[in-house]
Symmetry: C2
Subunit: 209 residues, 2 copies
């Protein structure tokens, strides 16, 4: 079969990947089948194996892509208009909502394994490093490295928990009548960043404007 112009040599990998991401976005990672992916990409059921080895391989690549692009999102955070913490929360949540397919996979050690796939682990590390840099911008560079780690872990937990509960969890079902989900999300983000600023100030660290 002659390949269509849009699927020239080397595109198959990307086609397969995009098909997989689309499925995960709409149906969840659970119901991703290699054969369905292949079908949507218009290739044989075994082609994806050529590029990704096995099912977990495709998840690992998606996870890696996700962490890289999360790191990029952190790097792009614009802190001129609002406190760094707030900007970070928003960036994290936006990432999760915009790249839901990636996000759903990134933290699923059972299916792709930060512990088993080295490239994924490296990408995850670089995202965490960006987060640590952000912490320094929140607290000032004089912070003790151990405290910086704790602070980063706390920020990550808060962002991650919110994002998870918003995109998959029961939170959207529970918003009280009279308020919208978006309102509630910004209320939580405002509360969180205010709280973080208080903590940074009380620690004697410079709250960055």
């Amino acid at each position: 079969m002659v390949p269509a112009p849009s699927e020239q040599h080397g595109d198959v990998r990307r086609l397969v990947l995009d098909a997989a991401i689309a499925i995960i976005e709409s149906e969840g990672a659970e119901s991703l089948s290699m054969r369905e992916v292949a079908r949507r990409a218009g290739v044989s059921h075994q082609a994806p194996y050529h590029y990704f080895g096995d099912r977990s391989g495709i998840f690992a690549v998606i996870s890696e892509e996700g962490f890289s692009s999360l790191a990029q999102a952190f790097r792009n955070v614009d802190e001129t208009e609002m406190p760094a913490a707030k900007a970070g929360f928003i960036a994290y949540l936006n990432f999760a909502r915009k790249h839901t397919g990636h996000f759903r996979v990134m933290f699923r050690n059972d299916i792709c394994g930060v512990t088993t796939h080295d490239l994924t682990a490296v990408a995850a590390d670089s995202a965490f490093d960006e987060l640590r840099l952000m912490v320094e911008r929140i607290t000032g560079p004089s912070i003790d490295p151990k405290d910086a780690f704790t602070f980063a872990a706390m920020l990550w937990s808060l962002s991650h928990g919110l994002a998870t509960l918003v995109i998959d969890g029961p939170l959207p079902n529970k918003i009280p009548p009279g308020t919208s989900l978006e309102d509630q999300i910004s209320a939580v983000i405002d509360l969180s960043s205010h709280m973080v600023a208080l903590e940074a100030a009380e620690k004697g660290l410079l709250p960055r404007q």
Copy 2:
């Protein structure tokens, strides 16, 4: 076949459920197969369907059990020895680590559906109600209901994020040398509850204790 004394009438449901939870705990929800569950429970491959309808049915029941027992864990929180927020964080994390099988399923809308299974939704509601009660104990009962919701959502995000990152996520891989995971976890919990107390105090709400 005459049933063994340990598997009398009605036990099959529980046997199946426990087998499923054990598999999820050790292998993750992804690799739970109805047939393997049936095999471990010593019944035919179709017996689980009698009780749970389909694969998502078994997840829904596990999820429901999980939310009920999370609500119970909130109710049992002992706030005499430490601030309510800290006790809550510890309770949440302990729950996630002790009932990992349940926890992994509870927030997986794609496989069991708080939105699709009513009993699960009810159980999730009751857990969230307990959390709101806890918020009132942290902030005092005079808090505006909308603010209470926001506060609860923030606490939930923080707890949930931490628990998720600890049991499945990349956080344990990233602890700096010279500190243990447990040390880092309590540092994050201490930081978080301190921060929450600051926020409650600043809001003019009574910090309990």
